[in-house]
Amino acid sequence: MTVESTAARKPRRSSKRTSAVKTTAKTSAKTPQSSEPELVQLLTPEGERVEHPDYSIDLTADELRGLYRDMVLTRRFDAEATALQRQGELGLWASLLGQEAAQIGSGRALRDDDYVFPTYREHGVAWCRGVDPTNLLGMFRGVNHGGWDPNSNNFHLYTIVIGSQTLHATGYAMGVAKDGADSAVIAYFGDGASSQGDVAEAFTFSAVYNAPVVFFCQNNQWAISEPTEKQTRVPLYQRAQGFGFPGVRVDGNDVLACLAVTRSALERARRGEGPTLVEAFTYRMGAHTTSDDPTKYRADEERASWEAKDPILRLRAYLEKEGAADEAFFTALDEESEALGKRVREAVRAMPDPDPIAIFDHAYADGNPLVDEERAQFAAYQASFADSAEESK
């Protein structure tokens, strides 16, 4: 039995919350080989609010609705992008379906002056940073390799090579500390990336230099077709202890817990107490990317069991129970979702191919005579076609 299927069949019940939900640094090594995930949880899959001794949160109805709206719109954007890929408008898409709580919870914990280093799936975090979602689609449409200014929203470019960005985040955080600023940095990565040497080196550097960085691992149980057990023999959050900083496992489908735990880790970083590893225990409900076929490697029952823990349904149940949102709110949000989908669809279809000469743009900041020479040759070659077209008229 795999770790993830165990987790799937034994959803944590609220009645266990005070006795078993211990995930702070001092208790993290208690059960090193346990297959039962210890999760910080504040909202059960049924939408019941529970307390945790180390992570409390008190949100207004407005804030709760805000988190719900973020998750719904992110999911709608993601669904639109998937559809656009199927229609041939995008070459590829990496869906975040199922990971909305992990991304919105952690993303909403950030301050404007914090800096984010994402993988290629952090569409929800980008949303929280105020990055226009259509900006994320350029690389998937094939018109650029990123294209946005990372400094305009403190949201770095997507990183395709897994784990690389954890070192960039660490270096950036070292710079933040040198500047005497109290910003924090967050690096996103997945369970597969946790096997990369760069992630281990990032843990080492961040611990040695006490860098204000939060490592936010979304353990979505699958690295393309490889389950987490092919990446690690111990729960991922426990890795942190060996590097000398705390690790916490949070219910990644619980937006409140993700917000509370990330906020706590960021505050710790701001206080100059160094890095934290947060493992958001979640599930990638869709394929790894639109090129992937999860039916070849995982059972339908597994997905079904995680659907019962859907982060959006869970918060909706809570909002309804608490009377924090009425029908008008949900109806308005549905309309907003459709409007977003339409805007994204139209923006992608209107996205022009870049001018071919752009191949040579920005290869170097200070210029390069070789690039200049090849650009001139390319331009002349292109122009030769234009000339022959003129002549044939």
């Binding site: 070192l167 080492t204 040695v208 690039v371």
Partner: protein
């Protein structure tokens, strides 16, 4: 004019000192660069004078060194990182090639990556495996990187200044067997741009092109050839990416013959690139095919055999003779 005689090692040290002194955003990072001053003492005394916050001893993790330097550069710093030896750069090769080289372009020019990666390279010091290699072509092949190597103290001093000031990532290959060679450094006379080649010796019969450690060998070969009545021009390339083809073309149009010399394996090496481009540019000026002298398509040999592997005076002169025989 302030003239000072110093070794290449000292020139690099003085240059790094000046860079740290001039710009508070400049950082030195690497294994053993602090108290020890680096295994070649290039950073000797810098931590003492600028502090552990500016001259940073790092964990022994090359990918980590370059990867965190990228992050520091994104935060506005100008890191100069030391890779202890040529053969140790490969754990960092991923960060250099997939991240450092491409990030500026991926951001459509919105961010800059002013990182200098210093690599003591090349053979001739009797070292063990992975301490004598010349991997410059592997970096020169990658768009987004600039690759340079000084051959003398004055260039070492100034090219390092220029590399630190560049907004592009620079792979700075230091010819380790020349570290202790002394030369005049003009400390207040700024030379030409980083990518310009220089004529190390003028001649009319044949052009030798070299860089880094092989410039000295080529100058010795030219001196020896002169005794046989041959006039050899020696061009110090200084930059392997970009390459100053204009300077090579000018020389070859004068001499009609070209031999490229480097320590790296000839196969797919920088000599191949130079031969191809110069053949395109100077086909009607060439009196002989462009010849190459360099290492073999074999792992760098054990130290007792490195004199056979490395191009020496005789192999360079043999190539000169072959070219002139056409």
């Amino acid at each position: 004019m302030a003239m000072e005689k110093m070794s290449i090692a000292k020139a690099l040290n003085e240059s790094l000192r000046k860079a740290l002194d001039t710009d508070p955003k400049v950082l030195i990072m690497g294994e053993d660069v602090g108290k020890l001053g680096g295994v070649f003492r290039i950073t000797d005394g810098l931590q003492k004078d600028f502090g552990e916050d500016r001259v940073i001893d790092t964990p022994l993790a090359e990918s980590g060194i370059v990867g965190t330097a990228i992050g520091l550069a994104l935060r506005g710093y100008r890191p100069v990182v030391e890779i202890q030896f040529d053969g140790f750069v490969f754990p960092a090769y991923d960060q250099i090639v997939t991240q450092l080289a491409k990030m500026h372009a991926r951001a459509l020019g919105k961010i800059k990556l002013p990182v200098v990666v210093r690599i003591p390279y090349g053979g001739g010091i009797g070292a063990v495996e992975h301490h004598s290699e010349s991997p410059e072509a592997l970096f020169a092949h990658v768009a987004g990187l600039k690759v340079v190597s000084p051959s003398n103290a004055n260039d070492a001093y100034w090219m390092m200044q220029q590399a630190v000031q560049s907004d592009d990532p620079i792979i700075f290959f230091e010819p380790k067997r020349r570290y202790w060679d002394k030369g005049e450094v003009e400390t207040d006379s700024i030379p030409g741009p980083l990518h310009k080649a220089s004529v190390a010796r003028t001649g009319t019969d044949l052009t030798l092109v070299a860089y880094g450690p092989m410039v000295k060998v080529c100058l010795e070969a030219a001196a020896a050839a002169e005794e046989e009545g041959k006039s050899i021009e020696v061009l110090d390339l200084r930059s392997m990416s970009p390459i100053d083809f204009d300077a090579i073309q000018t020389s070859v149009e004068k001499t009609g013959r070209l031999v490229v010399v480097h320590e790296a394996p000839v196969f797919y090496g920088s000599g191949a690139e130079i031969a191809a481009r110069i053949t395109e540019r100077c086909f009607y000026h060439l009196e002989a095919p462009v010849l190459r002298v360099g290492g073999y398509h074999a792992p760098y040999p054990p130290a007792r055999l490195e004199d056979e592997y490395l191009p020496g005076l005789d192999r360079v002169l043999d190539a000169v003779d072959r070219s002139l025989a056409y």
